[in-house]
Amino acid sequence: MTGRFEVDVFLFGRHRELAGAAVISVELAAGGTVADLRRTLSGHPSLGSAVEGSAVALNRRYEPDDSPVVAGDEVAVIPPVAGG
């Protein structure tokens, strides 16, 4: 559980426009969690606080802040959803 790794993070809706990208790469420390991911993203120059009011999905499941993120996970930031 040492070192750092990169994950691709999918963006959608408003976030995609803010970041000007559909996917961004984020570097996490080994043993990092959803909370660590959020912290890193909140430092993003254009996304910033937009991530706070969003959910995070790992491998297509909504996950709480204490869930671990590991290399190879399918990671997505999900802004408030509006189907129908």
Binding site: F12, A55, N59, V81, A82
Partner: protein
């Protein structure tokens, strides 16, 4: 270590007629005709359609965007929960993505059941849940060329809300 991913292949006999996000035009009439066996006394089809105005503003079109891979899985989870909870025979649900003009169908939910009360219950459940959980967003585009993403609901977090088969991720 990591696992997760809801089961991919499921038999047609589990009552899930269809559960998908699609770019194709939707038609409730098509699903209505496909639903129901000779033991079903009630079939309900709901169509959600794009309105030409919202919150007092005239809407030229609505653009839907989705996290497709996850959305199909979430729809399937919701449908299976509805079948399990209400005992209806079968459910089909389709949500469209892309740019839709007024009166276009954005959502179809079809339910067949022996009796009408569970059919209504299941139909309403699917719609409520997809509004809470389906990773899908809409942007309203106005006549003057401006547009805005509509406010949505914060999806529930954690496996208890994620369906009848919670799966813990590797820890």
């Amino acid at each position: 270590m990591t696992v997760a991913r809801s089961p991919a292949a499921r038999s047609a006999s589990d009552g899930v007629v269809v559960a998908e996000v699609t770019e194709d035009e939707l038609d409730g009439a098509d699903l209505l005709r496909r639903m129901g066996s000779t033991s079903d006394g009630a079939v309900i089809v709901f169509e959600g359609r794009v309105r030409d105005h919202n919150s007092g503003r005239s809407v030229a079109c609505l653009h839907y965007d989705a996290y497709r891979e996850m959305a199909d899985e979430v729809l399937r989870d919701i449908v299976r929960e509805a079948i399990q909870d209400t005992g209806v025979s079968a459910i089909g649900v389709r949500h469209r993505v892309g740019s839709l003009g007024p009166r276009s169908v954005s959502l179809v939910v079809a339910v067949s059941a022996a009796h009408r009360r569970p059919a209504y219950e299941a139909s309403a459940y699917v719609i409520e849940e997809l509004k809470r959980r389906l990773p899908l967003w809409k942007r309203e585009e106005y006549g003057d060329g401006t547009s805005q993403w509509l406010d949505g609901q914060m999806p529930p977090v954690g496996s208890t809300d994620a369906g009848p088969e919670p799966e813990r991720r590797g820890e």
